[in-house]
Every structure is written in C-alpha cells, then in structure tokens.
C-alpha cells in the first residue's frame, strides 16, 4: 500500500481543522471514545454545533480556548486504497513556521479558501511557500459553500482568481473542489447541493490521485550520519559508514568520490541490516564500506564520481526567516544540511519576495519574521549541494542561531 503525506493550509478560520475532522469523522476513522470526548468538549469550548470537529486536531489547551490552531497536528488514517499522514497546520501568520514544518515533508497541499472572502494574503503566502517547497500537487478547496448558497458563480470566480495569481508561481498540478467542511458537502460523499460540480469529493480525490514524489533526480546521493566501528577482536578493522540513500541508488563496485575532500575510491561492500547487498535503492538505510582507508566523518558525502554535486563555500538560496528576532547583519550562524553542519554567515540579502505581487523587491538588508528572501550565504566549511529543484534533500538546509540554538530559517538552494 502506498502512503500520501498531505497538509492543510490557508487563512485563519477558513476551516482547515474542521475539514480534517470532517474527513476523519465521515470516513469512520475516529474511535468512539474520542467522539465522546469531542462531544463533551464541544459543549464547553467549541462552537454551537453538536460536535466541533476542529477540536479533533486542536489538541492543545490554548488552541481549544482560543478556537485557533497554533501548531501543526499530525493525524493518521487509511482506507482500502491508501494510507495517509495528515499535517493540519495553522493559518495565523504568526505561526507560519509551524505551517512550513507541516508542509516540508508533504507531497500534496490542500489550500482552503473561504468562499465568502476569496483569496487572501495568507492564501497567497501559503501558495508561495508550497511553490518554494516544490509541492507536486496543490488542491484548492473552496470551503464554506453553505454560506454562499452553494453558488457556482462564486466558485468559478475564486477558481479563476486563483489561477491568475498562481500563474507566476510555477505550481505544477492544481485542482479545485467546492466544499462545506461543516456540513460535509464533497468531503467524503458527493454533495447533492452542487450538482454543477462534476469532479470527485475530497476523499476520493486523495485516494486516486497519482502521487508524484517531490522531485528526486536519479543521481545518487548519500551523506554519512554515523561511523560504525565495533573495535572488537573479530571486527577489528570494521569501519562502516551508516546513512540513508538520499536519492538514486548505490552499487557494489561503483566508483565514488568523498566530499568535500575529493578523494576517489570504490564501494567495497553495501550492508543493509547486516546483510550484504549488490544494490541499494533510494531511502534505504545502509552501511557503506570503501576500498581505501580514507578519512571520512559525519556530514561528508559519498557520491558517484561521474555525477558530482557542487562543492563550494557560497550558496545562493531562498530562505524563510522563522525567528521572532530579526536578522542582525553579520550575525554568526550555523547551517545544517541533513547531517552536515558548518558555521556560516549571510553575506548579502539580495532581494525580498513581495507576497502580493510575487515579485522580487529590492532588499534593504533586513530580514524579519516570515520574510522570504533571496540570500547569499558564506560557509566556513565547503558544502556539497544540488539545487532544490533537482534534489529536495541535498538542496535544503536550516539555519540555527548559535546562541539560542533555535532554528531560525529554512532554505532552498537555487
């Protein structure tokens, strides 16, 4: 069975949590004891409805009190056709970093729009983030159709507005569904109030969409996470490099280069769970052994000699600033790309994205919470990378404040 990871996005109160609650409720994916609890809570904190379905994902006390989502909630369910991991993310601009967190591992975005309000700044911001993340599928769910008399005209208008806006974004696969999360129209079952809509209800859409994995080049990539050295009598010389095949595949006898040192060698042995294999595919946790005794440590890359990534001390990237404290020019930071970590500094803020027009504005050098900027970063150690468009793993990184240890930005390499 395959696995679809998706997330919800859109403006605050557009109905994201309610939609997920409805999806789980109407597909009989909620246990009876949880339904009892929800019904009880709905009487005290929730809306006036019998059962406030948003409470299913709004699991923190502060969320229930305020009726908003603060941090991403993960929910799991499966049908006969597929298994799903859902990230229900917050719409409030203050919590954009949590939305980014939920979105970063997903293959599909459900962007909700309140049919009464149409496209808002947050719709745009979340669409831009989806585009930056290279989301393979975007589903725009035009919600609260019950409040606009299930009007086809309203739906069409929002659809065309969205498509106009999205043209600049280079989003690949965009679909639309009119729905009412509250009433359950077009969520699990097809609505009889919108006979003009010929498409699938949400669940069927999710079950049948052909999943395109976020683009992974077939070029092989591997980073060392940990060096296994038992140092026992019988395994005295054992020195295996543990990590995950990030993309492509690795084969016994393959010519490889270790980066950043640039030393060339050959794969001597590949182990998966202590069994020797000839070939290891994408995503397999492996232990690699090399012919030559080279100096390799955590964070180094082992890559095919004929397809090297770039290895430089400078990268240009798009970053989303996530720290409450604004960026201080010259501030020393850490850059982490999977298991590789180095000191770094933002050398230049090149431009800032205007979320209304999706144009690059000239930068005044400042970066504050939720800004999306193009920057030039200088690293202390050389970093081996691909562009994010080519490889989601070797093309992404985070920035860490050395002082507070907080994750302060997410970056995708140009």
């Amino acid at each position: 069975m395959d696995l679809l990871r998706f997330f919800t996005a859109g403006n605050v109160d557009d109905g994201k949590s309610t939609l997920i609650g409805r999806l789980l409720y109407d597909s009989n994916s909620i246990s009876t004891d949880i339904i009892e609890t929800l019904t009880r809570q709905s009487k005290t904190t929730g809306t006036n409805t019998e059962i406030d379905l948003a409470l299913l994902t709004d699991g923190l006390r502060a969320e229930r009190e305020q009726g908003i989502t603060i941090d991403v909630a993960y929910k799991y369910f499966s049908t006969d056709k597929r298994k799903f991991i859902i990230a229900d993310t917050p719409g409030h601009i203050q919590y954009t970093r949590n939305m980014f967190t939920g979105a970063s591992n997903a293959n599909l975005a459900i962007i909700l729009v309140d049919a009464r309000n149409g496209i808002t700044d947050q719709t745009k911001r979340h669409s831009i983030i989806s585009a930056i993340l290279g989301m393979p599928h975007v589903l725009v769910c035009i919600n609260k159709m019950d409040l606009v008399d299930y009007s086809e005209e309203k739906y069409k208008q929002i659809e065309s507005d969205y498509l106009t806006f999205a043209k600049q974004l280079n989003l690949k696969d965009i679909s639309f569904i009119p729905a009412s999360a509250l009433a359950g129209d077009n969520v699990v079952t097809k609505s009889d109030k919108m006979s003009w809509y010929k498409g699938k209800p949400l669940l069927e859409f999710l079950e049948t969409i052909e999943i395109v994995e976020a683009k992974q080049t077939d070029v092989s990539r591997f980073q060392v996470q940990y060096v296994i050295r038992p140092q026992t009598d019988d395994l005295h010389d054992y020195r295996g490099f543990a990590g995950r095949v990030v993309s492509g595949s690795y084969q016994k006898g393959q010519k490889v280069t270790v980066l950043p040192s640039g030393i060339e060698t050959t794969i001597d042995k590949i182990e998966v769970n202590q069994q020797e294999v000839e070939l290891a595919e994408t995503n397999t946790p492996v232990v690699l052994h090399l012919k030559d005794d080279v100096d390799i440590s955590r964070g180094n890359s082992i890559v095919p000699t004929e397809h090297l990534p770039k290895t430089e001390k400078e990268v240009t990237a798009t970053i989303c600033w996530m720290d409450n404290a604004a960026y201080i020019p010259g501030q020393k930071i850490l850059l982490q790309q999977n298991s590789f970590r180095t000191k770094a500094v933002v050398k230049e803020v090149i431009s800032k994205i205007d979320i209304h027009s999706f144009t690059q504005l000239e930068s005044d050098g400042a970066m504050k919470l939720n800004d999306i900027c193009k920057v030039l970063i200088k690293t202390a150690e050389p970093i081996s990378f691909d562009s994010y468009a080519d490889n989601r793993n070797s093309g992404s990184f985070i920035l860490i404040n050395e002082n507070t240890n907080n994750t302060i930005a997410a970056g995708t390499i140009d």
Partner: protein
Amino acid sequence: MDYIQDKEEIMKNKDYLDELEAEAIYILREVAGQFDRPALLFSGGKDSICLVHLALKAFRPGKFPFPLVHVDTGHNFEEAITYRDNLAKQLDEKLIVRYVTDTIKAKKLQDGKGKFPSRNGLQTYTLLDVIEEFEFDACIGGARRDEEKARAKERIFSVRDEFGQWDPKMQRPELWNIYNGKVNKGENVRVFPISNWTELDVWNYIKREKIELPSIYFTHERECILTENGQLMNTNEFVTIEEKDVVVKKKVRYRTVGDMTCTAAVESEAYTVDDIIKELKEAKISERGATRMDDRVSEAAMEDRKKGGYF
C-alpha cells in the same frame, strides 16, 4: 534493460512499512551523530521493543551508542521485567534501572493513593533524576503521535528545558528530515523515532519482523475488577479490593503495558499477532481510551504531564 525493470519492481513493492522503518533508523542515527550522551528509554512495552529492534538495524554490528534506561515504577507486570532483563543480557547492551520507590523515599514524596494508586505521575521525578545523574542530553522514547492529542502536536526532536519541561507554544520548526538537536548544558531533547507510526503499523511491523513480545500482549485468563466505566483492572497487591467490587475472571490481553494499577486490560480472543491485527482493525475504542485511567482525569492531562517533564 533488465536492471531498469528490476528497479521499477523494487519501487512498486516498497511498502509503507519500509518508509516508516527508514525514517526511524535515520532518526536513531541522527541521535548517535548529534549527541554526546544519549539514552534509550526502555519500558518493556511493544513500542520500546520496536525501538530496540530498529536500533539493531541502525547500529549492528556495532554496539548501541546509548544505554537502555528503565524507570521502574515498581508496579510492573512481571512478564515485562523478565523480558527486559533477558533482552539486555541477550543483546549484551547496558541496562540502567532506576526505581520510583527509591525516589519516593529520598524525596519524601507522597506515594500514589486511593484504590488504584498509580505512580505514573511520580515517574517524572525519577526520570528527571536519572537524566541529571548521567547528564543525558537526549532520551529516545517510543511515544507515537496517534496515541493522544497533545502527542500529535509534538516534534520528533522535542526540546526540554533544564526542568524537563515542554513548551508547546514555542516549539522549534522542524523542516524536511533535518533535525536540530542543539541544546545547552542541562537541557535535553526527547526524540521520538516512531512518531509517525500508528498502533496498527506497530503490529504490522512486529508481524513482518517476527519480533517476540511479553506474553501479556496475548490473550490469557486473568482476575480483574470490572470498574464502573467498564474497564477491566487487574487485581494485584497494590490495588485495594472492596466488597462492592465486581471481580471477574476474563480472557484478556493488554494493548499497552504501563503502571499496572492504571492500565486496563481488554477482553480478547487474540492468541497470535495475526489475531491482534484483525482485532485492531475492528476495534472501536482507541488505544489509550481502552487502557488508560490517567488520561480521563482532565481534557489536558497528557499536555500537563508533558509540560512537567513526562514523556
């Protein structure tokens, strides 16, 4: 040409369990790579047994880069303790056990009271003490997001301050597969490699990997008190049996293994892992709803315990 076909075949047969397993092993290796003094919290329950199995896949033929640590409430199922000790011996890995009973004495704490005197809350003291004693900077645990609504909100690398506290409103963003485990001295990170697994995933994995479990997970006859809300509580030396209690003998099994005084059994006919999987697919009640008394106390019981340093 053959090779391409092979490759497509491999990708098609890739099960979602492979994906979950790969994610968990990746996370375990990140812990090994990022921390100086990690620990794996081992309870003898199915989730932590799966963690140990995953650690074998992540680190063998090497030793685990962390000890197994058990916070022993003293209210244990004997089968779980025997399993724990055998496992550590068989794997030749270090096992550290610290007792809640000792903490109660040393700190002059009030032991659990009442009919079902749970030490679930008291565990936190012992846990924080053992973290301090060994200066653990990371503690790996088997908590899963599908268990409970506050857990559904927690990061895979969840930072705790010096007092072990979780601040759900100030969690670090966690992007892609990049885990930021940087903390200051005294702080620690709780790491949950099987965050994205459901109860059913765990059982499917146990089946696939043929993992041995303590016998209490399978049906057996047991004397229980049938409580007012219909839960079956094992009669044992810690529980006070009153005259009005309805004591029954039933065929039961456990869905979770925790403090014996607050973990309920469920009626079951499941003799094998396959039976359990079948039973779970039809189950109407959630794992914690069926088995935990402690979460019924308030709507935010788990969130509050986590804020206080609990897992």
